[in-house]
């Protein structure tokens, strides 16, 4: 009897997409009490067409039927929604685990105890600096204190291991050890993720994103200290710094999951390939369309396209393509590099060259902007 063929590499099996997402991000609202400079969803003001509680539950029903194992809830600030607990409890009751991302402003002692009592629930507190100066420069005055207070409440309530989620920037990359220590102090798990030029991030990206030298610093830090540090696989482009061996490869699937294993549902029910590409170019449909979410996941044109085998394009001649997979399409898209071109942060420097030829005047702009209007000081005049 002939031997059965060895199962192909996992990554290759996943590139063709799965029958249902493994997990997905669901932004519940564009409303937010903060105005972080790099907000990927340009949040601030609630959208008048947000999904109703009933519509949200219908989506959860669909996700249950698809056997989605867990969802990442975010926003804006998801706890602003009056039905936040109702939806979280509904999801968990249907067997869909929940992790939610929050700035912590709405976690007081009572809420912390309520959250601690819930099963299959995980919390991710956003923090971008190990001191108020660094953090608040990005997330706003008082946001560091708010996050720490929420962490204190969670610890006091015995929540257990929540996550601290950091977007790595030029200004906090030297704080990685301190972030790890902070997480250890609170019995939390550290998560560091990549800054993409998405949403409001497009404006600040050139000043905030790590330099090439700092990217190497991140890579080496992860290899040396990143054993229990999560990354959401967002640094897979840095694997090109290594030699491809197991010891030089960062943990994770090492591929872009957008439209293949993950996707985004936004506050008005639009489905995008991932939270970093909230733009018509990457919109697959709406849960309000006939067939709902399931039809979009299994049959939308966009996702079908994303699941087709990709070519290396301009990266064909580069020996690192296997390691970096051409990087992040969101990063390329919003800086004006063609999707088959190099990542703007390509460790070989090819992205920098590519950006020189990008036309600044025609960069993709987010289709929606829920940012709060800038406050104009009112002149008081004497009568």
């Amino acid at each position: 009897m002939t031997a059965a063929a060895s199962a192909p590499a996992l990554v290759d099996q996943l590139k063709g997409g799965l029958d249902a997402p493994i997990c997905l991000t669901w932004e519940l609202t564009y409303a937010c009490n903060l105005e972080c400079v790099h907000c990927l969803s340009s949040s601030g003001r609630r959208d008048p067409h947000e999904l109703s509680t009933a519509e949200a539950k219908a989506v959860l029903d669909e996700l249950h039927d698809l056997q989605v194992f867990y969802i990442n809830i975010g926003g804006g600030e998801p706890m602003i929604r009056r039905d936040f607990f109702e939806l979280v409890e509904y999801s968990i009751a249907k067997g869909i685990g929940v992790k939610f991302s929050t700035n912590g402003a709405f976690i007081d002692a009572t809420k912390a105890r309520r959250l601690a009592a819930m099963d299959y629930l995980d919390i991710q507190i956003s923090l971008d600096g190990t001191d108020a100066v660094t953090n608040d420069a990005v997330r706003g005055t008082g946001s560091y204190a708010t996050a720490i207070a929420a962490m204190e409440h969670l610890r006091d309530a015995g929540f257990g291991e929540f996550k601290i989620s950091v977007v790595v920037t030029r200004h906090n990359v030297d704080q990685l050890d301190r972030f790890k220590a902070l997480a250890d102090d609170y019995g939390a798990q550290l998560r560091i993720t990549r800054l993409r030029p998405s949403g409001r991030g497009a404006e600040s990206w050139h000043d905030l994103h790590p330099t090439q030298a700092q990217q190497r610093q991140i890579y080496e830090w992860l290899l040396a200290h990143g054993d229990r540090v999560l990354t959401g696989d967002s640094f897979f482009h840095l694997n090109a710094l290594g030699d491809g061996s197991a010891g030089a490869t960062l943990q994770g699937l090492n591929l872009c999951g957008a439209g293949r294993v993950v996707c985004l549902i936004d506050p008005v029910g639009d489905v995008y390939a991932c939270p970093f590409v909230i733009h018509d170019e990457f919109k697959a449909g709406s849960v309000r369309d006939p067939g709902g979410f399931a039809r979009i996941w299994t049959g939308s044109e966009l996702f079908t396209e994303l699941r087709e085998p990709e070519s290396a394009g301009a990266c064909t001649s580069c020996g690192s393509y296997d390691a970096c997979q051409g990087g992040c399409m969101a990063a390329k898209f919003f800086v004006g590099i063609p999707l088959d071109g190099p990542d703007p942060e390509c460790v070989g420097g090819h992205g920098e060259d590519a950006m020189l030829t990008a036309d600044g005047a025609t960069l993709p702009r987010p289709m929606m902007d829920h940012s709060k209007p800038a406050r104009v000081p009112v002149q008081l005049t004497r009568r």
């Binding site: 009897m1 031997a3 059965a4 199962a7 192909p8 996992l10 099996q13 063709g16 799965l18 029958d19 249902a20 493994i22 056997q67 194992f69 867990y70 067997g95 685990g97 299959y120």
Partner: protein
């Protein structure tokens, strides 16, 4: 593992996929890919057989592959996706 009596842990969800299945443990939050439909068949057959070896035989798994299956099931046991049959 060949002589063990194993069952799928009750907190594990098994979700079929084109290439095999995904197994997710709701308590440990571990996610495992079962990369071949034969592994899925064997796991489903465990409950109806006394030992792993019996399940492999019942599923017509070529003897040459038993070592690979032994490794796979051991790994699933170590990550608590499978546990000893209680009775």
């Amino acid at each position: 593992m060949l002589d063990a009596s194993l069952d799928l842990h009750p907190r594990v969800a098994l979700r079929p996929e084109p290439f095999g299945a995904l197994a997710y443990h709701y308590e440990t939050r571990r996610l495992v890919f079962l990369k071949h439909p034969d592994v899925v068949r064997v796991i489903k057959a465990l409950a109806a057989h006394d030992t792993v070896a019996d399940a492999l035989t019942a599923c017509d798994i070529d003897r040459h592959r038993w070592a690979s299956f032994d490794r796979a099931l051991t790994s699933l046991y170590e990550s608590e996706m499978l546990h000893d049959r209680c009775s």
